[in-house]
């Protein structure tokens, strides 16, 4: 064994003298980013003067937003209920479908022949922004809540089916092997070997999706797919800014309710 205080014959090796060499590649990338930012800001004419003009208009809008006008609270309430229904129905259906899609897309449990098409399906679901999907569904099935529900189902699958699949791919296969060794069939292996390992994460993802669907349910209405968004959009167009404020406050309340709901669910399933 070589003695440790003996100078290694490779001590003069330049690789050892400077082990942390600068990477010219990363320097070039940073320089490129800075140059592009300068270019983009100049071409978009983002000057200080333009900013001041904008601020001025913003102040005027702010003045007209207050005080909030809740005179049409019945319309507000029925829209709120519709948004909530869209969000909850879409979440439940979307999560239920995602459970199966996610399982089929997990590469550690499914052959490539099954998981690859499922991954393509998930990728398609998340390709387009919900607004674009909502427009498509409004054209396909007509104005109203149905289009909103279908939109959010697609959005849910695109998001949580992928997370479900990834969670399943991270499980310990040893536990699965042990269940398989008891002679359990496929469904039992999934229920006892796989599900317990991912259940709490599934609950977390599902609550996140419910939260996200609550927000989006107020947005799909802008393109006519039901809920608060439609009323919000027409209030803007009619310059009813005090009513806009009332709608925005309602949305904030809706999100807070959703937050409380998801906290409760998490606590129950802990």
């Amino acid at each position: 064994m070589a003695e440790l205080n003996h100078t290694s014959p490779r001590a003069s090796d330049p690789e050892r003298a400077h082990p942390f060499r600068t990477s010219w590649g990363s320097r070039a990338l940073w320089a490129g980013l800075v140059l592009y930012l300068v270019y983009a800001v100049t071409t978009l004419d983002l000057t200080w003067a333009r900013f001041l003009v904008g601020i001025d208009q913003g102040g005027e809008l702010l003045g007209r937003l207050f005080p909030a006008n809740f005179a049409r609270w019945e319309l507000l309430l029925s829209d709120l209920i519709e948004s909530l229904q869209i969000a909850i129905i879409a979440s439940v259906v979307g999560i239920a479908i995602s459970l199966f899609v996610g399982l089929l897309a997990a590469r550690n449990l499914m052959p490539n022949l099954v998981s690859a098409p499922m991954r393509v399906f998930i990728a398609l679901c998340r390709t387009f922004h919900p607004v674009i999907i909502a427009i498509l569904f409004v054209k396909a099935v007509g104005f109203g809540a149905l289009a909103g529900i279908l939109t959010l189902i697609v959005a849910s699958i695109g998001f949580i089916a992928k997370l479900f699949a990834e969670a399943i791919e991270e499980i310990s296969l040893k536990q699965v092997e042990a269940i398989r060794a008891t002679g359990a069939g496929f469904a039992s292996i999934i229920l006892f070997g796989v599900l317990p390992q991912v259940f709490s994460r599934f609950i977390g993802f599902s609550m996140y999706q419910l939260d996200s669907n609550l927000r989006n349910s107020t947005m799909v209405g802008i393109v006519g797919a039901g809920g608060l968004g439609g009323t919000l959009f027409s209030a803007f167009q009619r310059f009813d800014y005090d009513f806009v404020t009332a709608i925005l406050i309602t949305i904030i309340a809706l999100i807070l309710v959703g937050e409380a709901l998801s906290n409760t669910v998490r606590r129950v399933f802990q």
Binding site: E177, I179, R180, T182, A184, G185, F192, P196
Partner: protein, 251 residues
């Protein structure tokens, strides 16, 4: 009829690099059969071929007279449920309770629908508690498996295997993750089962002395072949050199 007859078993994960070559073993009486041999010599593969977690490349495995080396579907699951298995790292389902883990030993006997709704037969539940009492964990039934220590987990693993009503028990390095004292306790437990309940038990084990102490029969494997098969007394240093190679570790 012998419980288990292995004839000409060979297996290769990658073509042309066999891990098991022509294994011939007959198991026909209760008691511990210790399989010793260096890491990577195919001991785990051998056990996993017996309960068909791995499909062997060739040869036959006669389980109570039926060749199970190539069965699939329902007959395969019926084979597995009659062969209990204990694992090196216990392989309990961490998020389930101890009782649920033991009851998974019945999954091969019931529908997934009933199992999911936890509709286990009253008799099964009673037996699960009995087995937990037997392995000394009666008070831990409601705890989650990940709250237990290594030795306790392995006892749950043994109770789960027994819940299957196994004809044969396989134990893959059941003591390798445990301290010396707990290792002896686990081996004592397995020996009691093997003798009192009359279950032939194949145990892969690193520790030659532990194997000698508890086994009724020892099988030495090297390079994917059986190089010794007989009484523990019959194993000499020459055999051990042949099994593990080298000799400095023996002194």
């Amino acid at each position: 009829m012998s419980d288990l007859v292995i004839r000409g078993l060979h297996h290769a994960y990658v073509a042309d690099t066999p891990i098991l070559r022509d294994i011939n073993i007959t198991i026909d009486e209760p008691g511990i059969v210790a399989i010793i041999g260096p890491s990577g010599t195919g001991k785990s593969t051998l056990l996993r071929c017996i309960n068909r977690l791995i499909k062997p490349s060739g040869g036959s495995i006669l389980f109570r007279g039926d060749d199970v080396a190539a069965v699939q579907g329902r007959p395969l699951r019926e084979l597995r449920r009659q062969v209990g298995m204990v694992f090196q790292e216990y392989n309990l389902v961490e998020r389930l309770t101890v009782l649920e883990n033991v009851l998974t030993g019945r999954l091969g006997y019931m529908s997934a629908w009933k199992a999911w709704r936890r509709q286990f037969a009253a008799e099964d539940i009673r037996r699960a508690f009995d087995l937990l009492d037997f392995v000394g964990l009666g008070d831990f039934a409601k705890q989650r498996a990940d709250a237990l220590s290594g030795g306790q987990r392995q006892r749950v693993g043994i109770a789960r295997a027994l819940m299957q009503d196994p004809v044969v028990l396989l134990a893959d390095e059941p003591t390798s993750s445990l301290d010396p004292k707990t290792s002896v306790e686990i081996m004592e437990l397995l020996t009691t089962l093997a003798n009192d309940k009359g279950i032939p038990t194949l145990v892969n084990i690193h520790d030659v002395n532990l194997a000698r102490r508890f086994a009724k029969r020892m099988i030495g494997m090297s390079g994917g072949e059986v190089v010794y098969d007989g009484a523990p007394d019959g194993i000499t240093d020459d055999h051990l050199k042949r099994i593990y190679g080298g000799e400095s570790w023996l002194s």
